[in-house]
């Protein structure tokens, strides 16, 4: 049984705006699924429907085996949620908040204190636990939010843009926590606008744009569809490019269109591990390599191929509609 099963899920607002326009996806138990898309694509709306905070206007979704529309109560018992805005009570201390969350999820009274301390230690907030949450930094609040999502050992964890706005250290801490959760067998549904995050953490990725899924698969498979990684080589002085071609032909696919500024572009299936072999072969042939640059297709390239737009940063191409929350 899949941990999350979504079929033609739809959310339409008054006025006809379809924030989510019929998506299908499946997440297996123990998988980390990355839901990737630009701002306004419908990621948050999808998550809010899956965690029973928003009612779908069409389609079906089951989480941990229960239907989100007809059995929301059963769903809530089995999921942990850390939304985009850390949903905290600023007047309470970290410890008080987690203990309350434990009570709300039915953790037996005798276990509440112990579990709370475990989780607080795990997210690195032991020293700050008696301080009011209002005094916590942004990174600390996110970590507390995560602890609250985990207090009842959920089967499925939903993280909505967990590292947006975080400093690099906090981001790494969170990534390690996700990896650890995967080892423990928790299913993680993660939305993000950062390619690197999806690349690093997800077993499979679903790319959403304007309320529709435009690509789905493992990061490697998706990128392979675009093309092989390639090495852009620049040689010293008056090196013999023809001879270089001869030397390199058995090592990869020489590309017809050489990248601007490079002398030769070589497609290499193995990616970065081919660099050593290529440089050695050229060296043995007496050809001096000036510069080697590995260029790999990214998920942004996948996105661009499917939609004409870009995921990160300013991009020409398909504008994403403003999806109301």
């Amino acid at each position: 049984m899949a941990a999350i099963e979504v079929s033609q899920l739809q959310r339409e607002y008054r006025g006809g705006l379809k924030a989510v326009d019929g998506i299908d996806l499946q997440v297996q138990a123990g998988e980390v699924y990355g839901f990737l898309g630009p701002n306004g694509a419908g990621k948050t709306t999808t998550v809010r429907m899956l965690v029973t905070l928003l009612r779908p206007t069409g389609g079906r979704a089951t989480v941990a085996g229960f239907d989100v529309a007809t059995e929301p109560h059963q769903v809530r018992r089995r999921i942990g949620v850390a939304l985009q805005e850390a949903a905290l009570d600023l007047l309470m201390t970290g410890r008080e908040l987690i203990e309350l969350q434990a009570t709300l999820h039915g953790v037996p009274s005798r276990d509440v204190a112990g579990r709370t301390q475990d989780l607080i230690g795990r997210v690195g907030l032991s020293d700050a636990q008696e301080r009011r949450v209002g005094t916590y930094s942004g990174g600390m609040r996110r970590r507390l939010d995560l602890a609250m999502a985990l207090i009842h050992a959920p089967q499925v964890l939903f993280l909505d843009e967990p590292t947006t706005g975080l400093d690099p250290t906090s981001r790494t801490t969170l990534w390690n926590e996700v990896r650890r959760l995967k080892q423990d067998g928790t299913t993680v549904f993660l939305t993000t606008q950062y390619l690197e995050e999806a690349d690093q953490l997800a077993d499979r990725v679903g790319i959403i744009s304007a309320g529709r899924i435009v690509a789905e698969g493992t990061p490697e498979a998706l990128k392979a569809e675009i093309g092989l990684p390639h090495l852009d080589l620049t040689f010293d002085g008056d090196a013999d490019i023809v001879r270089a071609r001869e030397v390199l032909t058995p090592l990869g696919e020489i590309r017809a269109d050489t990248a601007p500024g490079a002398d030769l572009s070589l497609g290499v299936r193995e990616g970065s591990s081919a660099i050593a072999r290529v440089v050695r072969a050229l060296d043995e042939a007496g050809i001096c390599v000036g510069r080697v640059e590995l260029v790999e297709p990214t998920l942004d390239d996948v996105f661009a191929a499917r939609t004409g737009g870009h995921l990160e940063g300013a991009g020409a191409g398909a504008p994403a509609p403003d999806a109301a929350r």
Binding site: V51, T52, L53, H73, A87, D89, L91, L100, S109
Partner: protein, 261 residues
């Protein structure tokens, strides 16, 4: 999970949280008691001779007459404060977390109502002690005091439910804050501060149908008269009506918000 033990545990935990948070913001608590106290002092200090007016009920002093009005004013403000707290919770996002937890939906409202009831006990106690300190007495004795607490708590919870209903509909704190002056105006248009028979127009007409008149009279009777008076029953009835109506509104508002989400 309709296990009653769990539900009770959740409601108590949320009530504890509401009380703790209220105590952590004393600058919001003080006006609840301070303002009615000042108003009480000025009313008594300036107009205590009005007890000699023909038609004024027999009282030991104007203070005895005014206590119930001051209590009700404080309870009303407490209800608005509970609404503001709920609105801030919605604005801040913590409300979503409660909704996403496996608790009975109604516990979200009940928790705060229990806290409001507990606060009502403190508010009534404060004014009773204040009154005793300055020479008032409760004619109805211990049963009288219990009646005052009973009506006060029921009314306080009712006002809290009104505050929450407004917060759940408006979903922002400034709107709820705007209710403060309206609540005070409604209280003025009642027999809270002066006997109903001696009110001038147009307030006298409104006061006759204002449930606040009955609530205040219900709390006043044990102080100036005794527990046997019919006002007590009417007061209890009015307070219960407010709780039921407001409670219903609050639950409807909660459902509405969850559905429209």
């Amino acid at each position: 999970m309709t296990d009653p033990g769990f539900s009770v545990r959740v409601v108590l935990a949320l009530a504890r949280r509401a009380l703790r948070n209220a105590l952590r913001r004393p600058q919001f608590l003080a006006p609840l008691v301070l303002f009615p106290t000042l108003f009480l002092a000025v009313n008594v200090g300036g107009l205590n001779r009005t007890t000699t007016l023909p038609g004024f009920p027999v009282v030991d002093g104007f203070l005895d007459f005014q206590l119930a009005g001051a209590m009700t004013q404080s309870l009303l403000l407490g209800g608005v404060a509970a609404g503001i707290a709920t609105a801030l919770e919605i604005e801040g996002g913590y409300f979503d977390r409660l909704v996403a937890s496996p608790i009975p939906r109604v516990a979200i409202v009940l928790g705060r109502l229990v806290a409001t009831g507990a606060t009502a006990v403190v508010q009534v106690t404060y004014f009773l002690l204040l009154g005793l300190l300055f020479g008032a007495s409760v004619k109805g004795g211990v049963p009288g005091v219990l009646v005052v607490y009973l009506i006060g708590i029921v009314a306080g919870v009712g006002f809290g439910a009104i505050g929450q209903a407004i917060a759940l509909r408006a979903q922002n704190a400034s709107t709820v804050q705007g209710i403060f002056p309206i609540a005070l105006v409604v209280l003025f248009a009642s027999s809270a501060f002066f006997p109903q028979d001696l009110l001038s127009s147009p307030v006298d007409v409104v006061a006759r149908y204002n449930p606040l008149s009955y609530i205040v009279d219900g709390m006043r009777a044990p102080i100036i008269d005794g527990v046997g008076s019919t006002s007590v029953l009417e007061g209890l009835g009015a307070a219960t009506l407010v709780v039921l109506a407001a409670g219903g509104l609050a639950v409807l508002a909660l459902r509405g918000r969850l559905r429209d989400a």
